[in-house]
């Protein structure tokens, strides 16, 4: 018998083993849900899959009686808009701050301490400030996401900039490059794939801030909806919404990863 650490599954086995926990959770849910519903058909805690499908049909394919909107899609659209604008601004700001402080010692000396302090502020505590200063509209929600993840991206890019071998910077200088050219031709292209990774890592935090902001003050959005229907214990809406958010997060991550390997073929070899 081989040692446990030397036993590895065949590819097919690996798939099965990976799928197994998901199947188990679903089976467990169905059994528990059936048991509760058998005892009390109007139980709301563990809705059956058919009631979830029915609820989602209503949310996605029937116009709302109040506004005439297809709520599921308008929620998704406004959430994605907020998230992508917020993360987009954070990515650009983080890239600029990160390269500037990573490449230029003088800027680093003046900005690094500030960046460290800002990254320590618990952003959710700033939310009331944002609501007071920026109002309850879109701006404050986007600002929360941006403020929440910019320091992380900036510090990550700063570290990545410093990881680029000093030999390359010296070489570029012996080839006649000035500071701007070193940044635009040597540093920036090598940092773009790092930026994609950094954004992938900060998307989870981005969703967190988005849902928090929507839960507190909003009139639409995925986060708003699940906190709204919580009042009626509508688990048949909340659970599919959570699954949908998870799927969106997964798709975003997949998209960024594919984009990275597509655009920067030299990076994946490392």
């Amino acid at each position: 018998m081989k040692r446990m650490i030397n036993l590895s599954p065949t590819p097919a086995m690996k798939w099965l083993l990976g799928l197994l926990p998901f199947v188990l959770i679903i089976v467990l849910y169905v059994v528990a849900s059936d048991a509760r519903l058998a005892e009390n058909p109007s139980d709301k805690l563990l809705p059956s899959f058919s009631s979830m499908t029915e609820a989602m049909n209503r949310m996605a394919f029937e116009p709302s009686k109040r506004s005439g909107d297809y709520l599921f899609w308008t929620d998704t659209l406004s959430s994605l808009k907020r998230l992508s604008i917020g993360v987009g601004i954070a990515a650009i700001a983080g890239l600029i701050i990160g390269i500037a402080t990573g490449a230029l010692p003088i800027l680093n000396a003046s900005l690094s301490p500030l960046l460290t302090v800002i990254s320590l502020i618990p952003c959710l505590a700033l939310l009331p400030v944002l609501f007071i200063v920026l109002g309850l509209g879109e701006v404050s929600k986007i600002a929360l996401i941006t403020i929440g993840i910019t320091p992380f991206i900036a510090r990550d890019i700063q570290r990545r900039t410093r990881e680029i071998p000093v030999e390359q910077l010296i070489k570029a200088q012996t080839l006649g490059a000035n500071t701007a050219q070193i940044i635009s031709r040597v540093l920036l292209p090598q940092l773009m794939p790092k930026l994609i990774n950094s954004v992938r890592l900060s998307l989870g935090t981005g969703w967190l801030f988005l849902i928090a902001a929507e839960a507190i003050a909003s009139t639409d959005g995925l986060g708003y909806r699940i906190f709204l229907v919580r009042r009626y214990l509508s688990m048949e809406v909340i659970l599919p919404y959570v699954a949908w958010i998870t799927l969106l997060a997964f798709l975003f991550d997949l998209l960024l990863r594919k984009l990275g390997t597509r655009l920067f073929p030299w990076e994946s070899a490392e």
Binding site: P165, Q168, K171, G176, W266, A269
Partner: protein, 257 residues
């Protein structure tokens, strides 16, 4: 061309180099050998301008060496010498872009055509004509160093600094590289400084061999005295008729200790 007068280099109270007095003429090929930590790379860094000397002077054409790297002094390191995000052709063409005085270093129009032709010719010269569109990570170690040399030459430096450029290569490939470097040195009228810890390489290449060693050692304070050039020998074509000087055995002993 290059003159060092009573040059010293300290790091804190550690003396690395001391009492270096040399003159190098245009077109010489100097190889620097010595044990590791004896200051030969430090000397190269002084020439490059990324280290500053502590005492004495180091002059290029009668003026102090600038305190940052510049296009008159090209460099090839043992590794990380090429840009991993550019293709072989891109690495060499980028040089033409980086020599323009603008922000982006991008090439356009006629200049781009000229750079393309010059780069292709240069890459053909170093034997990389079949790998123009590959990225550095797809090349072997020897090819990567060929690329690094082509890239350095594209900037038309007067002085080429080589920091153990072939240290990581197989012996056979290293021999090919030696021939290439010798040919390029003659064709381009370069002044070359090459750091190596292979004494044979030092004797084979170049016109002049410098051995760095510590002539004085204080056992109570190992850092008190630095290394200097203990042997300055004409070698290769310039060497006097083959005579295996008795000092060679002792040099081998000191440098390979």
């Amino acid at each position: 061309m290059i003159t060092a007068r009573n040059l010293w280099k300290n790091y804190g109270d550690q003396t690395v180099l001391e009492r270096i007095n040399v003159t190098v003429d245009e077109g010489e090929f100097v190889t620097l050998v010595g044990t590791s930590g004896c200051g030969k790379t430090t000397f190269l860094k002084l020439l490059l301008g990324i280290e500053s000397l502590s005492k004495g002077s180091l002059e290029l054409d009668g003026r102090a060496i600038p305190d940052e790297p510049g296009p008159d002094r090209g460099i090839v390191f043992q590794q990380y010498s090429v840009f991993p995000h550019m293709t072989v052709l891109g690495n060499v063409m980028a040089v033409a872009g980086l020599q323009q005085r603008n922000l982006s270093g991008l090439l356009r129009g006629q200049r781009k055509q000229d750079a393309l032709q010059a780069s292709t010719a240069l890459l053909e010269r170093v034997g990389l004509q079949d790998t123009l569109t590959r990225y550095p990570h797809e090349l072997s170690g020897g090819m990567r160093q060929r690329l690094a040399i082509a890239q350095a030459l594209m900037a038309r430096p007067r002085i080429l600094l080589l920091d153990e450029p072939f240290g990581a290569l197989d012996p056979g490939i290293r021999a090919d590289m030696h021939e290439l470097v010798l040919e390029l040195w003659r064709e381009n009228n370069l002044t070359i400084f090459m750091v190596t810890h292979d004494l044979k390489e030092g004797f084979h290449l170049g016109t002049r061999l410098w051995v760095f060693d510590k002539p004085r050692i204080d056992p109570q304070a190992p850092g008190a005295y630095g290394a200097t050039i203990t042997y300055d020998l004409p070698v290769g074509e310039r060497a006097p008729a083959r005579q295996e000087t008795p000092s060679m055995a002792s040099m081998l002993a000191t440098t390979q200790a």
